[in-house]
């Protein structure tokens, strides 16, 4: 959903427990991410490639704000260093076994480290989900989707 200036992604899923902390060695937090090729139409699903980098929006339940990440291959993801691209906001709530997470950012890219969402354009998008708590999912230990399509009308 978008209002011409900002785009909103709404996620809702079942989660028996609210895992919103990483405050001790065995404690891991729930997380979700979306991945979109940064400037090519397609890319490699697994963190992109050197010449086909990907832009990732990463939400984790313990983080103050979601992170804007760029990656150019396995093992390379990093939080984009410029402040302009760390423009993502969110709303999160866990209640009665259900996570509600809304992630929003300006449609226009804050910098070259971010995808611009343009009306009428189609994007490839992939999703990832990490189950925290006792499942201790983090890093490559996650559930990923195949490439999906995102059409901005």
């Amino acid at each position: 959903m978008h209002n011409g200036n900002d785009i909103f992604f709404f996620y809702q899923w079942n989660a028996a427990t609210e895992n919103n902390s990483v405050a001790d060695y065995p404690i891991f937090a729930d997380a979700i991410a979306m991945e979109i090729p940064l400037f090519t139409e397609e890319s490699i699903l697994c963190m992109g490639a050197m010449d086909k980098p990907v832009n990732i929006i990463f939400w984790r339940a313990d983080l103050p704000v979601p992170e804007n990440i760029v990656a150019g291959g396995m093992g390379t993801p990093q939080i984009s260093p410029d402040e302009a691209s760390q423009n993502i906001r969110h709303y999160q709530k866990w209640k009665d076994g259900i996570w509600d997470v809304i992630i929003t950012r300006p449609m226009a890219a804050g910098s070259e480290n971010q995808v611009s969402f343009v009306r009428g354009k189609n994007y490839r998008i992939a999703f990832a989900y990490w189950k925290g708590g006792a499942y201790a999912e983090r890093g490559g230990h996650k559930i990923v989707s195949e490439w999906q399509y995102l059409s901005i009308r």
Binding site: V22, A23, D24, Y25, P26, D62, M74, G75, P77, Q78, A136, R138, G139, G140, H141
Partner: protein
């Protein structure tokens, strides 16, 4: 993992008096920056036999022996490492008129927060040891990261945030690359990587690399009042560390069966004779206990380790006797270093 040089440390356990000066030197230098580092002792001294720090680290496993890597335990801070507490020194020591005017509870040192549940600390079982009087025994084991030649923490990290420096073989966690996955903590069988829950990243002993770069010893070694450490590069034939490991062959690796090729070596401790009912030839610290800890290589059997430790004791005793008779001994000269330059050559 080819490196150009490899730092090595030898710790002579015969001289370790368990004063924790190395621990405190390390703590004040590196890990008193924020709340997330309170439970961390990059250098710790544990009593052996004992549970160690973190609690029961020897049985937690690592990349080398565990097929299901997710099953490797990550101990919690309170129960595995210890939640640090403060004492009410002000209340007890700085009162007017002393204890008489204070209630009992105010005149007794009490920890705050009080250790609760299955609380633990880095020296929880200090000086407990084993055996019964008059043959009870224990010794101290100072531990830092082993800066292994085949470091499983490096292999465990999917982000290449943990790396081994080519110039000196020091293993470091890139604090900007680390995402706090804690695979390295699982990978390390010595449990010498710590998790900072405030910074949400892993941190570890850096072998005082800024000092090594200036050809100064790491602080645990330079501050040691017992002068138990010898630090040098593995290929520096003039260093005491090289001579103890390669020439005199009196230093062993801690748990070489972990297959990581640790670069911290230990001279196993001799101990007083067993009294039963007279003094006997046996040492109070059973060689079998030492052989459970120390050895040369991963493929050595327990019996071979026992023989090696006995051989080391023979060498040290022979050389000590030489000196007692007024003769010179190169080994004893190395073991009684007269200056820091004798012990530390980096």
């Amino acid at each position: 993992m080819p490196v150009q040089k490899q730092v090595r440390m030898v710790a002579d356990l015969n001289k370790c008096l368990g004063c924790h000066t190395c621990t405190m030197a390390c703590k004040t230098m590196w890990t008193d920056r924020n709340k997330g580092q309170m439970h961390m002792y990059w250098n710790n001294v544990e009593t052996r036999p004992g549970k160690g720090y973190p609690k029961d680290w020897e049985t937690q496993g690592g990349w080398f022996n565990t097929k299901d890597k997710n099953s490797i335990l990550l101990a919690s801070i309170n129960e595995g490492y210890g939640t640090p507490w403060e004492y009410n020194y002000d209340q007890v020591l700085k009162t007017n008129g002393g204890d008489a005017s204070e209630s009992v509870s105010e005149s007794v040192l009490t920890p705050s927060p009080r250790p609760s549940g299955n609380a633990y600390a880095s020296n929880w079982d200090e000086d407990v040891g084993e055996g019964t009087f008059p043959n009870s025994y224990y010794f101290y084991l100072p531990r830092i990261c082993n800066h292994c030649s085949d470091p499983p923490c490096v292999d465990a990290c999917p982000r290449q945030a943990v790396y081994k420096r080519k110039e000196d073989g020091i293993v470091l966690v890139d604090q900007k690359r680390c995402r706090g996955y804690r695979y390295c903590i699982k990978g390390c069988p010595y449990k010498k990587i710590y998790y900072n829950p405030e910074e949400k990243i892993s941190q570890k002993c850096i072998f005082c690399y800024p000092r090594i770069e200036q050809h100064k010893g790491n602080l645990c070694a330079t501050q040691c009042v017992g002068r138990i450490h010898h630090v040098g590069f593995a290929d520096d034939t003039a260093s005491g560390a090289y001579k103890l490991v390669n020439i005199w062959k009196v230093a062993l690796r801690l748990h070489p069966e972990f297959k990581t090729e640790p670069n911290v070596f230990y001279i196993p401790p001799l101990s007083p004779p067993v009294y039963s009912p007279q003094l006997t030839e046996d040492q109070r610290i059973p060689v079998e206990v030492l052989a459970n800890l120390f050895g040369d290589t991963s493929d050595q059997t327990h019996d071979q380790r026992v023989e090696r430790i006995k051989e080391i004791f023979r060498i040290i005793r022979t050389e000590r006797e030489k000196v007692a008779k007024g003769e010179r001994s190169e080994l004893i000269d190395i073991l009684i270093p007269h200056s820091e330059a004798d012990r530390i050559k980096v």
